[in-house]
């Protein structure tokens, strides 16, 4: 019995893996985006092995241009920019991942409830969500981060709140369209409990939509995180952080110490481009390869 269960799970897992790899390899946008994101993820995980120096210790003279010893030069305190850039990926990826997981979970849950129950509750929820959605997300995230106090986890919460409506709206819309399908009406008429209808019949359909929203939302979330960092609302010095390092580098432009800002700025954009490519690929796949 246990054997069967094991092989079943293994089979399911390997099939899912096979499916995922087929999707990734089947579309050149997804593949390109996936490779970019993967490089950054590996960089974050293996930072201890890749980075030649500690990111927070002074390792040499200040403001050295890129050289063999300091690949991306040193900053105004004499820290190695290359090492800081590598370690900086951790904050961005982790904060964004937490934020997306939170907003995805909460947004989906609220969207399911609101769409399924309907009525006054739905109207109130929708109105609040639409109001937040219409508001400049970065500005709201800034206000929230300030109120919660600067830290990566608080930044993640702030970003999550800002993107809840994105997930909410999509899921709710999906639920509303499925809810009126004849087979759901039959299931209800048969007295199948709501929770079961939602988990068995509605949630699986929503999953597909979620993938699309998720892929579109990721690049956005990365940029919002970077913006909060830029303003100094995530990790505090001396921790390495692309956004804040970029902000500091800003003061050294006229003096020509370009390497302090170019590398972190490039990394933020490249990571966002990676997610944008995945999103591009996913929408191509969904629209049947037409566009």
């Amino acid at each position: 019995m246990l054997e069967l269960f094991k092989s079943n799970v293994a089979g399911k897992a390997s099939r899912a893996l096979l499916n995922a790899s087929r999707i990734i390899l089947g579309n050149k946008y997804i593949l390109a985006g996936f490779i970019i994101v993967l490089v950054f993820v590996l960089m974050a995980i293996l930072a201890d092995f890749i980075a030649p120096y500690s990111p927070i210790e002074i390792v040499g003279p200040v403001l050295q241009p890129p050289s063999q010893k300091y690949l991306m030069g040193t900053d105004n305190l004499g820290r190695d920019v290359f090492s800081r850039t590598i370690y900086g990926s951790r904050v961005v990826l982790l904060t964004t991942a937490i934020a997306i997981a939170l907003s995805g979970a909460i947004g989906t849950l609220l969207g399911l409830i609101s769409g399924y129950i309907g009525g006054a509750l739905d109207r109130v929820f929708s109105f609040i969500m639409d109001s937040i959605y219409a508001f400049p997300s970065l500005i709201l995230a800034i206000a929230l981060s300030v109120a919660l106090g600067p830290s990566p986890i608080n930044a993640a919460i702030a970003i999550a709140v800002v993107y809840i409506p994105t997930y909410f709206r999509m899921v709710r819309g999906q639920v509303l369209s499925i809810k009126n399908e004849p087979y759901i009406e039959i299931a209800r008429a048969l007295g199948i409990p709501s929770t079961r209808i939602v988990t068995r019949h509605i949630l699986p359909h929503v999953g597909r939509t979620l993938m699309v929203v998720f892929s579109m939302n990721s690049a956005d979330a990365i940029l919002t995180e970077a913006a909060l960092s830029f303003i100094g609302l995530t990790v505090q010095p001396p921790q390495p952080d692309w956004g804040f390092d970029l902000y500091k580098g800003r003061g050294f432009i006229l003096t020509g110490y370009w390497w302090m800002m170019v590398f972190p700025g490039f990394c933020i954009t490249l990571l966002a481009v990676g997610f944008a490519l995945i999103s591009e690929g996913v929408s191509t796949v969904i629209s049947g390869g037409k566009r």
Partner: protein
């Protein structure tokens, strides 16, 4: 008559949205941090007496609901309270000072983004080669995810530091050049008939507006391209052609159809534009309310932050109103 009523109804519809956001911001900034004064000062080593006095001065000693309604009442009257950090400084005055700069930047950015977006989108739609089409479409997606400060700082590096062509930041080379009338310096310079100042203001504007405009143009590229393609393949165009209407004219009619989604999108876009403006202003030291917001964030000046956030909500509401009106003017199917 009909249009006036339509505008009035749309204008009223903004109120609940702004109220929701005000409530949200109030909860976030007045309730979440506990005692905002302590949070702002960042230390607890302050005599009880002095703290109480400060709270009273800022109206923070009253019950929350009273604060909620009083603030709202004062806000409508144009009083946004005082700064928590610089005592006695009127926030409304500060914002009135900074707002024109943000408006000027936004307007020019939208102009840039429309030029770039519609231009490239048109090119992509008219291109015969699939490679060009894909390239244009991809450009649209990538432009949109460029991190504004990264682009802005790179442009500063190239055009200000190395080529020395454009100023690195600010709005004018010298503050005394203009007596602000509208606060939009390019317009003020024209009103005051000072062509050199106009050029100076334009030079300062160029990089920030281009940076923000380029990033925001991404969605316009795709929108224009997809819609031109769609409209050109539509039955309406086929019927025009079957009637022997010249291609140039057909294209002009088709463009009106493309204008509708572009207008609608500009409304949605505006909140993105405002977020982008905060980053652009910070990058270029552009003295608008975006820079003001970031400054106040650094000092944890809660009352000022609250006012700025609500001002942004009002701006977004007003823009959506303007877009609704434009939309009604372009599309006769909109009933009012």
């Amino acid at each position: 008559m009909g249009l006036a009523r339509y505008i009035a109804i749309r204008a009223l519809a903004i109120i609940p949205t702004v109220l929701i956001l005000y409530t949200l911001v109030f909860i976030v900034l007045r309730v979440l941090p506990g005692n905002p004064v302590l949070a702002a000062i960042g230390t607890k080593n302050i005599p009880e007496e002095q703290l109480k006095e400060l709270m009273k001065e800022l109206g923070l000693d009253k019950p929350l609901y009273q604060q909620y309604f009083e603030y709202l009442y004062n806000f409508i009257r144009g009083d946004m309270g005082q700064s928590m950090i610089i005592r006695g400084r009127s926030i409304a005055g500060d914002i009135a000072d900074k707002l024109p700069a943000t408006i000027e930047l936004s307007v020019w950015s939208i102009i840039f983004s429309l030029l770039i977006g519609i231009g490239l989108g048109y090119l992509g739609a008219r291109a015969h080669s699939r490679v060009v089409k894909t390239a244009v479409r991809l450009t649209g997606s990538i432009l949109f995810v460029i991190f504004i400060p990264a682009l802005g700082l790179s442009l500063q590096l190239i055009f200000s530091k190395y080529l020395g062509l454009l100023p690195i930041g600010g709005r004018l080379s010298s503050v005394g050049l203009l007596k602000p009338i509208t606060g939009l310096y390019t317009i003020d310079a024209l009103i005051e008939l000072k062509p050199l100042v106009f050029i100076d203001a334009l030079q300062h504007l160029l990089l920030p507006a281009f940076t923000l405009g380029l990033v925001i143009s991404g969605p316009y590229i795709r929108l224009t391209m997809n819609n031109i393609e769609e409209v050109l393949e539509s039955k309406i165009i086929e019927a025009y052609r079957a009637r022997g209407v010249r291609e140039e004219k057909i294209f002009r009619h088709a463009f009106r159809h493309v204008l509708i989604p572009i207008t609608t999108y500009t409304g949605l876009q505006f909140s993105l534009l405002m977020g982008g403006a905060v980053l652009t202003e910070t990058t270029y030291n552009w003295p608008g309310i975006g820079t003001y917001l970031v400054d106040k964030v650094m000092y944890r000046d809660y009352t000022a932050i609250q006012a700025v956030v609500i001002i942004f909500a009002v701006i977004v509401g007003l823009t959506s109103l303007i877009v609704d009106i434009l939309y009604a003017l372009i599309d006769p199917r909109v009933r009012y």
